[in-house]
Amino acid sequence: MVRVLINAPKQVRVREPFEVKLLINHPMESGQRRDTFGQAIPREIIHTLVCSMDGEDVFQADLFPAISANPFLAFWAVAARSGALMVRFTDDQGTTQTDSIAISVA
């Protein structure tokens, strides 16, 4: 489990865009570096990230090795009804992690 910070307003208005900011604690090891013994450090990045609002995908991203450690992603979304803003991502080890916060729509 890596630490994920999802920052979005707790309350939004129907179909009014709001900003979502994500911070993920991840090394995003590019696979291009070598350790002190000259051995290649295997690539370990988050490669796929999907964000959904109440079950409906609102944002999707493919990440690549040139993205720095602890990636920060920000995007705008609209919501039609209250629900969970869910972030799901998969890294090179094949682990998929899901985090969510509740957003109420008025």
Partner: protein, 256 residues
């Protein structure tokens, strides 16, 4: 003629002392950072330091060690109990008879009061707890004591700051007092105020304490870094913190 020369020397001396920390005119590293780096620090949702703060917050209320007590078990609510605490560290500990850093104090609480194993130096847990405690003093001016039993340690720190070290034979003061604001390759030489530690450094792609920063500086001048538990490091941290008195705490800061 002689009088003129004396006057010139006096003016030069006055100018010379004017450069060295006139009280105001202190510049936080924040002031020398780029707009983008500052924006990152200003927005808590974009500041990666908050990933560590979140970890520290979780640890604060997690029971640990033989006592099964958490930090919160004794100290209670952080916002009230830890407000302003980070502004006073490193501070003199009368039981130990020497100054102690904030990291040292957290470690002391952990091993002596909680009965838990010490947290490894520069571990995410240690950085997280320090950042979480430091955050409670954000925006408050640094106020490290300079009088009383701490004085000899402060003087020792000052001497270290002014001592030439390493193969480059450089002292901290040569760059950070006399050449602060000028360039070292592409970067502005900061005044070296430790008012944002532990901080997120983009070069490290991670969080680091003042100890990590000093280790970097020492290897930079090709000197052998002090071991993490060296009294010299505490003295130097103490002098640096005192030197930054009046600047506001920025923990967790973001630096290039």
């Amino acid at each position: 003629m002689i009088r003129q020369a004396t006057l010139a020397v006096a003016v030069m001396l006055a100018l010379g002392t004017g450069i060295v920390l006139a009280g105001d005119g202190k510049r936080s590293g924040y002031d020398d950072a780029s707009t983008e780096t500052r924006a990152m620090q200003d927005d808590d949702a974009a500041n990666p330091g908050f990933l560590w703060v979140a970890q520290g917050e979780a640890l604060w209320s997690a029971p640990a060690g033989a006592s099964s007590r958490s930090c919160a078990g004794c100290h209670g609510d952080t916002a009230a109990a830890m407000r302003g605490v980070a502004t006073r560290y490193p501070m003199f500990d009368s039981t130990l008879g020497r100054p102690i850093t904030l990291e040292g104090r957290i470690q002391q609480c952990r091993t002596e009061r909680q009965g838990a194993p010490a947290l490894p130096v520069e571990s995410d847990a240690m950085l997280g707890l320090t950042a979480y405690v430091g955050l409670q003093s954000r925006g408050m001016p640094m106020a490290v004591a300079e009088d009383g039993p701490v004085r000899p340690f402060l003087d020792a720190g000052r001497r270290l700051f002014e001592t030439r070290m390493g193969q480059f034979n450089l002292s901290c003061a040569q760059c950070h007092d006399r050449l602060a604001g000028q360039r070292l390759a592409g970067s502005t030489i900061p005044q070296a105020h430790p008012n944002g530690y532990p901080l997120y450094r983009l070069e490290w792609q991670g969080m680091g304490s003042l100890y990590r920063r000093l280790r970097n500086c020492l290897t930079g001048v090709r000197a052998e870094p002090f071991p993490p538990d060296a009294p010299e490091l505490v003295a130097l941290s103490l002098y640096l913190a005192w030197r930054a008195n009046g600047l506001t705490v920025e923990t967790p800061a973001v630096r290039p």
